[in-house]
Amino acid sequence: MKNLVLTFKKYHFLLYQLVKKDIQLKYRNSYLGVLWTLLEPLLTMMVLVLVFSKLYHNTKDFPVYILTGRLLYSFFSATTRSALKSVRANAGMIKKVYVPKYMYPCAGVLSGYIQFLISLIVLAVVAAVCGIYPTWHLLEAVFPLVIVFIMTMGAGLWLSTLAVFFRDLEYLWGVALMLLMYACAIFYKVETVIGENNRWLFRLNPLYAVIENFRDAVYGNAMNVPVMLYSLGFSIVLLVSGIVVFYKNQDKFILHL
């Protein structure tokens, strides 16, 4: 444990560098730069609103509904994808210089999280435009925001480890993410699909549970504590098991890269 703290102290600058690189390079050579972090969710939200509001929900808050779901989901999906590739993408370095290997997935998750937090500005603006104003329940948004980070980090560690041994995981995960997207009720309302009584089915999906808590906070509804505790418990188990799996296998990475 003491060793862990010491290596982290030595390499925290590397973590900072890797996060900075991720963010800087993503928008380099684009005219609007980091503004894309805001524009991209806004534009996809507009597309989804355009398509789905004609289909079934013509309520005024629909853009906020979509955006809350989509921001969380796309943070999870984009970040787990990049974490999955992170160890293999840095194979050249891992083979040459000793660096704590968890740096690579961690940096990917951190940079994704920073961009996600920035993109929440869009949500604030859209909510204000749609007439949804903050209440003190908004403070409860801290829970889903922290939980989604823990969940993504756990999934990222699992995926980056498994992807070293199984190269087709990248494609399988892409399919799994698509399934997850439909199971997150991003652009439809659960009650219209399977009815309010069956909502628990959706809540089994921990990412949906996070989204529901987040929506409640934004809409000014009281937090559903059992749902929050479920997603928190799931995320902690995922993270702890992810750390264990990563640590147990990291010495073998080099043989498979």
Binding site: L14, K21, K95, V97, I254, H256
Partner: protein, 245 residues
Amino acid sequence: MSDTVLTVENISVKYRLPEQKVDDLKDYLIKMFKRQLRYKEFLALHEVSFSLEKGDRLAILGMNGAGKSTLLKVIAGVLKASEGTVTKKGTIVPLLELGAGFDMQYTGSENIYLYGAMLGYSKKFLDEKYDEIVEFAELGEFINVPVKNYSSGMKARLGFSIATVVEPDILILDEVLSVGDAKFRKKCEKKIMDMFDKGITVLFVSHSEAQVKNICTKAILLEHGKLTASGTVAEVLQVYKKLTE
């Protein structure tokens, strides 16, 4: 001086590799059900031990595939040995494939910080040494150009400058003394020689007899993962020559 800087004790490296390469889940599951997952054990290093004192310059000789690079990887900490221990004092700088850690999109100066951070240098240290690195690499205004536009010589120069800006206690050289043009090579050699004078410990892999004689004070010979000879350069070179004939 009897400062032991590096002790390698009974290092063995065992690879357990599948007989056929399995690297996707589909293959893995199919083979698992058919019970075709057979593994082959491959001993890359077998009970290698030696120790070095401050100022020793060790040549590691051996044929291709004898385990030289594996040994260096174990010492650098990149590869974990299956058995045995490595005890080292001070900082190790590996000069292997210069510039391997660069990000191609990043400019030279950004890469100084990135690569430096990978080698474990702090921001403060890099800020202080920034000018020295740029000057030694002789990149001039190219320092603000993305590395993808560099020639291979330029990359190697930058890599060398960053890696050698610290004064390491142990330097690992894996046939790298052949970077850049003749002028830069001379400069590199001079810098390395200066380090030698300060008494750093060196691990050197090379097939060139002349270089080994020039640089090293001690030598070991690896054959199929086993240490078969060790001693002075002259002694070991003699054994090595017999082997190559």
